[in-house]
């Protein structure tokens, strides 16, 4: 097993799929000659040439649309948003074309494509560059949404996403690209739609189901460490697939622990966090010993100043506080 950074795992996925399938190409700002703003696509231009690694002008609606059109022709575009913040100008293309055209054409056209890039706050990029877009895109019927937090998941899920015939929104994170982890040497795929238990219950203490994804994972795991000595036994579930959601994995854990805290990057109003919470209260109503709690961004535009940003972001300390609360250990 090799130890790879997430960026390397993503690159390996793209590379393998490009080698495997001539129809796969990468398009976006700085993906080619610059080797990627965050170096995910490093070396791919050299290997595959300008036909398949396509640098674009700053025109997200334009190149998202080009990707959609190309996908309708049977190509399999990987559209990189330098960050998902810039996908806001391509919102209509994703909502009204990518997510709809398969249905609207009664299946005449398929859209085998991936929109990918970093999502959520990084570090001191201020409000327009610190936004988590799953809240928006998960709302669309007609797409699948994935968020990865480890090199293993990054590679396995991106390969699956590239092979999937549906439009996929694939979330990464600037601050996680350098995170390292083991990745098998042989080929593997991870199905979309399956959550993964990143920390199992130990069976000692009060169980708490901790649901997370993306940048939330490290916060959740750190909080679980802090909680263990207090007798709070956390099962940390990484959703990975945000649409469709793996209800079964979530419910199985909730039935064991009867307590749930969500820990994630993103605004509190609505979105993926509220959806998961709603499903739990609906599908596991009789299993809940406490309300489902959410630890996420405070409900404000992200300030630049480091101290303010830290306060707005979810933290292990805040998550621990929530664990205590669902366990009625609140001080």
């Amino acid at each position: 097993m090799a130890t790879l950074q997430i960026r390397e795992a993503l690159r390996a996925a793209i590379d393998e799929e490009m080698a495997r399938d001539e129809r796969v190409f990468v398009m976006g700002e700085e993906v080619g000659h610059y080797d990627g703003a965050y170096k995910v696509t490093e070396g791919l231009l050299k290997k595959y040439g300008e036909r398949r690694v396509v640098d674009t002008p700053i025109a997200e609606a334009g190149f998202a649309g080009i990707g959609i059109g190309a996908a309708m022709c049977g190509l399999r575009p990987i559209i990189e948003f330098m960050t998902f913040n810039f996908s806001a100008v391509a919102f209509d293309q994703i909502l009204n074309n990518a997510a709809k055209l398969h249905q609207l054409t009664a299946g005449q056209f398929t859209l085998p494509m991936v929109f990918r890039g970093p999502n959520g706050a990084a570090h001191m990029l201020s409000s327009t560059h610190s936004q988590a877009f799953e809240s928006f895109y998960c709302g669309f019927p007609g797409v699948k949404v994935v968020s990865v937090a480890t090199p293993y998941d990054a590679k396995g899920l991106l390969k699956t996403a590239i092979r999937d015939d549906n439009p996929i929104i694939f979330f990464e994170s600037e601050i996680m690209y350098a995170n390292r982890g083991e990745v098998p040497d042989e080929e593997y795929l991870i199905p979309i739609g399956k959550a993964d238990i990143k920390r199992p219950l130990t069976g000692t203490g009060i169980g708490v189901t901790v649901i997370t994804w993306g940048q939330g994972l490290s916060v959740a795991l750190a909080a679980a460490e802090l909680a263990a000595p207090e007798g709070l036994d956390c099962e940390v579930i990484d959703l990975r697939s945000l649409r469709p959601l793996d209800d079964e994995a979530v419910l199985a854990s909730v039935r064991k622990t009867n307590r749930v805290v969500l820990v994630y990057h993103g605004w509190p109003y609505g979105g993926t966090g509220a959806e998961v919470s709603d499903r739990i209260q609906r599908l596991a109503f009789d299993h809940l010993d406490a309300p489902v709690l959410r630890v996420c961004y405070e409900d404000v535009n992200m300030p630049y100043a480091e101290n303010l940003e830290q306060l707005v972001l979810p933290s292990p300390a805040k998550a621990l506080e929530a664990f205590r609360e669902v366990a009625y250990r609140k001080v």
């Binding site: 080009i66 059109g69 190309a70 398969h102 609207l104 054409t105 398929t110």
Partner: protein, 338 residues
């Protein structure tokens, strides 16, 4: 339903002998008239409450779709707006399936799921029917991108209203097409109004091809009076796109005789203006040309009778067709994993 939906597949320019010319003109005329009669039938059905939602008629602009279908080579694509029936008919879609789509029936072009604004018939070269203004322009550029990627020699013809020339997606798509020299021809159907807004309140320039140089697009601009002239000049742009990777922006000056959609009384235009354009109706011009070339009144009547019968049949077909299966509302939202 028996009807003349045969699409002319001979894509060479019409020869100069009187015989073939006449055949060709008769074909073009017939196709234009089929669109006209289809739209009239649709308007009636709308008035009768059999069609709902938005219905944007193509009456007055038929020569464009017919010229286009006539010059296309197999595999070429048309991408257009919500004003899409004319292209469907011209490209050889079954008029019954078109009408059934308007009626929201299972037998419709896309199973009743799209309605008037979303006709798609991939195998006929109709790559859609898009309803967000300008949003289809980058998509069409994407089709052309794929043609370049695959070196398949196909050309994409992307139609847009003059109203779509002022929205961002259009500018982005056109710049990318110019930058990458994609095999695409953008055709502005400048019918002078975007809903009730005349061009003078949309843009500070009259000549929209003044935007072509900024995106390195070749350009052409003319009034659509004559279907054959339209065919010839569009074909030139298409040939450049196909053979020289020279994308183009062609502005066609045309007119819709009806309101923007069925709900638009069209009060923003004077009767004189409408009459003036109606008097130049390309459909009537072709009819006159056929007369001049010696076609008899009987023959003309026979063409029209055939078409009226076709459209009656189309309407009956739509009427009698079943509604979509309830379960089909879940269809095609995603492709199920295999």
């Amino acid at each position: 339903m028996s009807r003349d939906t045969a699409r002319k597949t001979d894509t060479s320019p019409p020869s100069s002998g009187a015989g073939p010319d006449l055949d060709h003109l008769r074909h073009l005329y017939t196709q234009m008239l089929r669109i006209r009669r289809f739209e009239e039938a649709a308007a009636r059905a709308y008035t009768q409450g059999k069609i709902s939602g938005f219905l944007h008629l193509y009456i007055g602009q038929e020569a464009i779709a017919v010229a286009t279908a006539d010059l296309m080579e197999p595999g070429d694509r048309v991408v257009t707006t919500y004003r899409d029936h004319g292209f469907a008919i011209a490209l050889g879609c079954d008029s019954g399936a078109c009408m059934a789509e308007l009626f929201g029936k299972a037998t419709g072009l896309v199973g009743g799921v799209g309605g008037s604004m979303h006709f798609f018939a991939k195998d006929k070269g109709l790559w859609g029917g898009y309803a967000i203004v300008g949003s289809h322009v980058p998509v069409a550029a994407g089709h052309a991108f794929a043609s370049k990627y695959n070196q398949d020699g196909r050309v994409t013809l992307c139609f847009l209203g003059e109203g779509a020339m002022h929205i961002g997606a259009t500018a982005e798509g056109m710049n990318l097409a110019g930058l990458w020299r994609l095999p695409i021809v953008f055709v502005i159907e400048n019918n002078m109004y975007a809903m009730g807004t005349p061009l003078s309140r949309q843009s500070p320039v009259d000549d929209l091809t003044s935007r072509a140089p900024g995106w390195a697009l070749a350009s052409d601009r003319f009034v659509v009076n004559d279907v054959l002239e339209t065919r010839t000049r569009l074909a030139e742009a298409v040939a450049h796109a196909r053979n020289e990777n020279r994308p183009a922006l062609v502005e066609l000056l045309t007119y819709r005789f009806r309101g923007h959609s069925m709900s638009d009384p069209g009060k923003y235009r004077t009767k004189d203006e409408v009459d003036e354009w109606r008097s130049r109706d390309p459909l009537h011009r072709s009819e006159q040309q056929l007369r001049d070339a010696g076609i008899t009144e009987d023959a003309l009547t026979a063409i029209d009778d055939g078409i009226i019968a076709e459209m009656d049949a189309a309407t009956a077909f739509a009427d009698e067709s079943p509604l979509p299966e309830p379960a089909h509302r879940f269809r095609h939202n995603l492709i199920e994993d295999v």
